[in-house]
């Protein structure tokens, strides 16, 4: 049974390594963040499995709870930050560029008339 737990932890480590490819090669920042979320969740489960393998589950469960509190709130915080950054961008130079692009045709019409 204990060797089964260690093998399960190794399988989760293999899936974690596969998911790291998406962190490296993800085309958008959201792909990278989703892959990081999966990697941290797999690390949490692997921690619980290794603790059950060494029969120290009393000690490690507290560490796992703290790790879960940190890593499951991390993508929420980064998503909020990305949304606020997008709002600042639409409020700032991007909106100025859009208004400049739309104010060019009235200039041409005024010059033609």
């Amino acid at each position: 049974m204990s060797s089964f737990l260690l093998g399960a932890a190794l399988v989760i480590g293999a899936t974690l390594t596969v998911a790291l490819h998406r962190v490296w090669a993800g085309p958008t920042i959201y792909d990278r963040l989703v892959a990081v979320s999966l990697v941290t969740a797999n690390t949490l489960v692997m921690l619980v499995l290794v603790a059950s393998y060494y029969e120290r589950i009393d000690m490690v469960v507290d560490i796992a709870l703290g790790y879960a509190l940190l890593t499951f709130t991390l993508p929420i915080a980064i998503a909020k930050h990305l949304e606020s950054r997008r709002a600042d961008a639409t409020r700032g130079p991007v909106r100025d560029a859009l208004s400049g692009a739309t104010s060019d045709p009235p200039d041409d019409e005024g010059g033609g008339s």
Binding site: T15, Y30, S52, V61, F72, I76, A79
Partner: protein, 142 residues
């Protein structure tokens, strides 16, 4: 008792492997978010419940149950927050997410197929500039 734990942990490993393979193999962002939100959460629940059964509901099993509840709530919430941020940035279609989003100040065409709020914002900007543009020209020419 051990057989039940083996079955639960093996099913959880199958779900987590499917989740990792889908994360690597799926073509666009929303499919990857979907496979991480559902399959990964179910895999976490199955594996930790299997560990609880393997420990015969002793020791830290109460806190492991708390961990299961927290993971079942927080993991889909995190993925949903990421998917909502992506939707608000660049719209619902997978084609609008094809270009890299690392620098948000460079992709002005990304605002065009965006969410309805951004369309309203751009229309308001166009209306305000249409109102202000010709008056400024008249004042400048006269």
């Amino acid at each position: 008792m051990n057989a039940i734990a083996v079955v639960l942990i093996t099913a959880g490993l199958v779900f987590m492997t499917i989740s990792a393979l889908g994360l690597v193999r799926f073509p666009d962002f929303f499919s990857r978010a979907h496979v991480v939100a559902k399959s990964e959460t179910f895999g976490i629940i199955l594996v930790i419940v299997g560990v609880v059964v393997q420990n015969r509901f002793e020791g830290g099993s109460m806190r492991l149950g708390l961990l299961v509840v927290f993971a079942a709530i927080a993991n889909p919430t995190a993925i949903h927050a990421l998917a909502r941020a992506a939707y608000n940035d660049h719209g619902p279609t997978p084609e609008s997410l094809d270009f890299p989003l690392d620098d948000p100040s460079d992709d002005e065409p990304g605002l065009q197929p965006g969410s309805p709020e951004e369309r309203h914002r751009s229309h308001d900007d166009q209306g305000s500039t249409d109102d202000q543009g010709p008056t400024g020209d008249r004042e400048a020419t006269t």
